[in-house]
Amino acid sequence: MDPGSLSRSTSLGRNVVEREPTTRIGGEDIPSVLVGAAILVILLGIAGFWVLARNTGTGDAEAADVRARFRSFAEAVADGDGSAACDMIVPEIAESFAERAALNLGSEPGTCPEMIVGFADGRSPDHSTLIRGVEVLDVRMLGADTATNMPPESAEVEIEAGVVSFERRSGCAGAVDCWLVHDGGPIFRMADPSR
């Protein structure tokens, strides 16, 4: 059957062939429904690209670094990669986290990496997937001084469970690893199997 035709049976049982409406483009008869679908997807494509162009997610390079750091931190905690996670935490904060975590787990005091591993061992894989995929609701950059061209000193990443704060290593700017976790409370609470 011609692709531009439709076949249907009448109430008398006879087959009739109907021509589908067509549009003439460049000397060819193209089914109108196909032309309509093409125009619709192209118009929505233009609108979609415009929406994506408005939301590049890279408006602030420092904020993008903090966002990337947060993602790496959450993944390291979810994977139970203690040394990677604790390297991203301010050392004093890592120590106090280890003390609290040992109390929560009811275990002997240990190092920060040991406690991250301890948390991971007590968690279900589904629980870890939730941490790995935690949604970032907002990233706020704090302490920047545009008059003296000083970059932000700290940052806050908002997730549903609370706010994870970061501080910038002194003398370091423009790189993801300039940012250290200052308060990872919401992620630690999500990671704690005793909660």
Partner: protein
């Protein structure tokens, strides 16, 4: 514009639309995080989802008409 060009543009738009529809799905189930999606307003998300659905609709129509 001949239909060849229109068809090519429709295929390109459909491919990107379906890609972003899949990205939205992955974002909703928490296995993919893209700053562009996080920063979108609700009405912008609706446009992206309609774009993806229109892409699927285009391919179905194209196949049904012998494409």
């Amino acid at each position: 514009m001949t239909f060849v060009v229109l068809r090519f543009l429709a295929h390109v738009a459909a491919a990107f639309g379906v890609f972003w529809l899949v990205a939205f799905g992955a974002h909703l189930v928490g296995i993919f995080e893209d700053p562009r999606i996080v920063e979108m307003a609700a009405w912008e998300r609706v446009i992206i989802v309609l774009w993806g659905l229109a892409g699927i609709g285009w391919w179905q129509t194209w196949k049904a008409t012998g494409g």
